[in-house]
Amino acid sequence: MNSQVVLTALGQVSGTVFWMLVGFLLIEVSIWAVGNKVLKNKNTLVAMLVTPAFVGLGLLLVFPLLYEVVLAFSNMNLYHFRNPEFSLLNGLENFKRVFTKPVLQTTTFFPVLLRTFLWTSQVLIHASVGMLLAMLLNRPNLKFKNIYRAILILPWAMPQVISALTWRSEFNFEYGFPNILLNKIGLPGIQWKADALWNFIAMVLTNVWLGIPFMMVISLGGLQSISDEFYEAADMDGASGWTKFQKITLPLMKPVLAPSVMLGIIWTFNNFNIPYFINEMKLESSEILVTALFRAAFNFSQYGFSAAFALIIFALLFSMTLIYVKWTGALKGVTD
């Protein structure tokens, strides 16, 4: 750490900001010139506003996607690293292999898929516990509300890698606190690292701990926006707590919860850090799709195959989300 480092960093970063601004302006001016002066299009301003972000996204996300599509039609692996062959046949072979042969050493696609679904379903736990905590926090005149809330969102605020590594060391058989606590109440410790089922449960526990705060905050926002009048009216009708929850809270929370649950599903499905750090890529029986993909690509260097595998995972998640959107109307509030 010295002044030179500081200056280099500042120089580089301000340069980046500067050049991005120049590029930004160039794009804006040219769209304005073409759209407003030449085409006289009424959507010119819209184009000016959205183009910079979408050019960036296109470069950063669409290029890799296209790259993967091309790669999926190659036989690229360590034996064909420098000069892979691209052909339709190679592509078919890669896609077929995803479903017919082990994606790693022993596990085949469908068990991993099933496990990924099971893994993703924990979002329900995030949402229901998050909702429960939000309802507790939302009680009238609750004391220490801000303290509770501050503590309860900590797992979300902590850097994820640090939490993941901490939990990993806490799943140690002898020195981790879950087993120490079990021993204190006279139960035998659990082999979190070696036993396939418990390893999976360890992953889920960690991620539940991490995932609840987001849902809690979202639910709290939703609850605060429900007008008291609904409950007052219900009270006059003598409705029970459960009825009020069913008839007022849940329906009114749906526009808040449905998109958040959708994001939760996408993030959990694609969650790489937690399975990667807790399992340490040891047990194939704990792999979910995205970690299996990582192993196929980087541990086993099967570039062509894993590109096909990646596209299948992406397509699967994409169609699942579309079905969810249709089913819950999660995007209604967004597309309106």
Binding site: M1, V5, V6, A9, L10, V13, G15, T16, V17, V46, V50, P52, A53, F54, G56, L57, L59, L60, F63, P64, L133, L136, P140, F144, A150, L152, I153, L154, A157, M158, P159, I162, L165, W167, S169, E174, Y175, F177, I180, W209, V217, L220, G221, S225, D228, E232, P255, V256, I266, N270, F272, L289, V290, A297, F298, Y303, T321, L331, V334, D336
Partner: protein, 281 residues
């Protein structure tokens, strides 16, 4: 309910507080354990003791992290990259989101689906192509490459949040200003953006967290140790076989503090900023 000012009966209060306290304990215990490890002397890292403050607590791990490692360098690198990212990302997102919120132009829904789609790309799939792209443009080993990658990758979620918030601001505000002769962009800048502060704060927070914690891309894009961000620095404390756990834990605690502080500070906006769009009015 609040307006009524009614009180829960005592027994309900007791149940509520018991539940909340239990939840808080479960939440905070693992974090306190990191603190415990960071306070243990170097030769006593494995212990079956559950005491939160070890009897022979020492700050030696903290001083080791601060003065024997490049802790400040890592922090500086992360901070520079993160702040630049957050500013650029926010600029890109706030304008796009405004357009998407206010105009029903052709291709708008496709755009929203596209934004959602970007969240679904498995990270492992992006690494090699992004590296190739960065190498092509000479961005390896520069802060530049990461700033660009991070600021763009946080855009979809920021647009999502901001658009929702803009939606909840009535258009009559702009219309009134425009009748007075203000231009559209002037109105956006002077009237709409200030009203959007809570959502901007949230988007900033997300941009910040996103790049502050990112690890996989940084590992391949910044191979020089002088350029390490903190996750890379922490990683360097983990050898192939041995990890300097005490120093690791101490560094972790110190690195978490800025984000946690930022998070708690913005938590007053967090609740509204995230949900405003979905619940209108």
């Amino acid at each position: 309910m609040k307006k009524l000012g009614h009180q829960d009966p005592l027994w309900v209060k007791i149940i509520i507080h018991t539940l909340l306290i239990t939840a808080c304990l479960v939440t905070i215990y693992p974090i306190l354990r990191i603190m415990t490890i960071s306070l243990r002397p170097g030769d006593r890292l494995m212990s079956t003791s559950l005491a939160l403050i070890p009897p022979d607590a020492t700050f030696s791990n903290y001083t080791a992290a601060l003065f024997e490692k490049d802790f400040f360098l890592w922090l500086w690198n992360s901070l520079v990259i993160t702040l630049a990212t957050a500013v650029i990302g926010l600029t890109l997102a706030s304008t796009s989101a405004y357009a998407i919120s206010r105009w029903k132009f052709p291709g708008r829904n496709a755009m929203l689906i596209f934004l959602l789609g970007t969240q679904m790309i498995p990270a492992a799939m992006l690494m090699v192509p992004l590296y190739l792209l960065a190498a092509k443009f000479g961005l390896i080993n520069t802060y530049r490459g990461l700033v660009i990658a991070y600021s763009v990758s946080a855009v979809p979620f920021s647009i999502w949040i901001l658009k929702g918030y803009y939606d909840s601001i009535p258009t009559t505000l702009e219309e009134a200003a425009m009748i007075d002769g203000a231009s559209r962009m002037y109105t956006f800048w002077r009237i709409i953006l200030p009203l959007t502060t809570p959502a901007l704060a949230i988007a900033f927070l997300f941009n910040f967290m996103n790049s502050w914690n990112e690890f996989m891309l940084a590992r391949i894009m910044l191979p020089k140790s002088g350029m390490f961000t903190w996750p890379l620095g922490l990683q360097s404390l983990q050898g192939q076989f041995t990890t300097q756990w005490g120093v690791y834990a101490a560094s972790s605690i110190m690195i978490s503090i800025p984000v946690v502080a930022l998070f708690l500070y913005s938590s007053k906006w967090l609740v509204n900023g995230l949900t405003a769009g979905s619940v209108k009015g």
